[in-house]
C-alpha cells in the first residue's frame, strides 16, 4: 500500500475548498534509468472524491500529471462533511483516505 494522501478541506460561506496531495511517482514510461532501460509507465488514472457518500469530484489522469499529484477543487458543502478520496493506478493499486471538513 502506498503512502497516505494529504487532504485539507475548509469551509467558508457554504463553499468547501479541498486540497489533495497524493504520493505517487507518476512514471510516464518515457524515462530511462541509469543503465538506459526504459522505466515502465506507472501512474494514477482514476480519482474520485465523495462528500457524505455523494460524489463531488472525479478525475481521469494521463501520464502528464506531475509526480505527487496535487488537486484543488471546490464544492457546495458544510463543516463536518466526511470526505473520502480514492485513486487507482495503471497497476491496479488503489488507495483511499478520509478527511473531515473544518
Amino acid at each position: 500500500m502506498s503512502d497516505p494522501m494529504r487532504i485539507r478541506a475548509t469551509e467558508k460561506d457554504g463553499i468547501v475548498d479541498v486540497k489533495i496531495l497524493m504520493k505517487h511517482d507518476m512514471e510516464t514510461g518515457l524515462r530511462k534509468d541509469a543503465s538506459g532501460q526504459a522505466i515502465p509507465a506507472w501512474f494514477i488514472t482514476h480519482l474520485y472524491v465523495k462528500a457524505q457518500n455523494k460524489e463531488v469530484f472525479r478525475a481521469h489522469f494521463g501520464s502528464a500529471v506531475s509526480k505527487d499529484p496535487f488537486l484543488n477543487f471546490k464544492y457546495r458543502g458544510a463543516k463536518g462533511d466526511q470526505l473520502m478520496v480514492h485513486w487507482t493506478d495503471t497497476k491496479g493499486d488503489e488507495r483511499a483516505d478520509e478527511a473531515l471538513v473544518v
Binding site: R31, H46, F61, G62, N72
Partner: protein, 150 residues
C-alpha cells in the same frame, strides 16, 4: 447477428460480474478513455471528444505561468463563470496531448487547479464542457527545462 448479440451479452455480464466481485472498482467502471489519453495531437483528442476545435471563450479564466522554469511541475488553474460539467487540459507538444480530464457534478464549483508535466514550450488548452458544448481558453507556456524523458 444473433452471434454478435450473444457476444455482447456475455461481455456485459462478465463486466458486471467483475464489478460485483470487486475485481474492478466502480471507479474503473466509469471508463478511462484510452483513445483520448493516447492521442498524439489535439485533433486526436478532439475526435474522441466528438467535437471540432471549440470556440475561445472569455468566460474561461486560465491561470498558468508564462514561463515555467521546471517543466516537470507546471501549476495550472481553470475557473469559469459558466457551469462546467467537464474540464480537460491538453498540452499540444507533449507525447500524449491529454493531461487530465475532470468531471464536475452539480454541486461542484467550476474550478480546478492541478500540476502538469510539459516536455517543451507549448500551447496549453483548457477545454470546458458547458451545457453539452465544449469551449476553450489557450495559453502558450514557455518551458526552460523539460519535464519528460531523461
Amino acid at each position: 447477428m444473433n452471434q454478435q448479440r450473444r457476444m455482447l451479452l456475455q461481455h456485459g455480464s462478465l463486466f458486471s460480474l467483475m464489478a460485483s466481485a470487486g475485481l474492478i472498482s466502480l471507479c474503473q467502471a466509469q471508463e478511462w478513455n484510452q483513445a483520448a489519453f493516447s492521442g498524439k495531437n489535439v485533433a486526436d483528442v478532439l475526435r474522441t471528444f466528438n467535437t471540432s476545435l471549440p470556440e475561445n471563450s472569455e468566460a474561461i479564466h486560465f491561470n498558468a505561468p508564462d514561463i515555467a522554469e521546471n517543466g516537470a511541475v507546471v501549476p495550472v488553474g481553470i475557473s469559469t463563470t459558466l457551469k462546467a460539467e467537464q474540464i480537460a487540459i491538453l498540452v499540444e507538444k507533449n507525447p500524449n496531448t491529454l493531461a487530465a480530464h475532470f468531471f464536475l457534478p452539480e454541486d461542484t464549483e467550476s474550478f480546478v487547479v492541478t500540476r502538469i508535466k510539459m516536455a517543451e514550450t507549448s500551447n496549453v488548452y483548457a477545454f470546458v464542457k458547458t451545457s453539452g458544448k465544449w469551449l476553450m481558453a489557450q495559453k502558450e507556456i514557455k518551458v526552460t527545462l523539460g519535464g519528460c524523458g531523461g
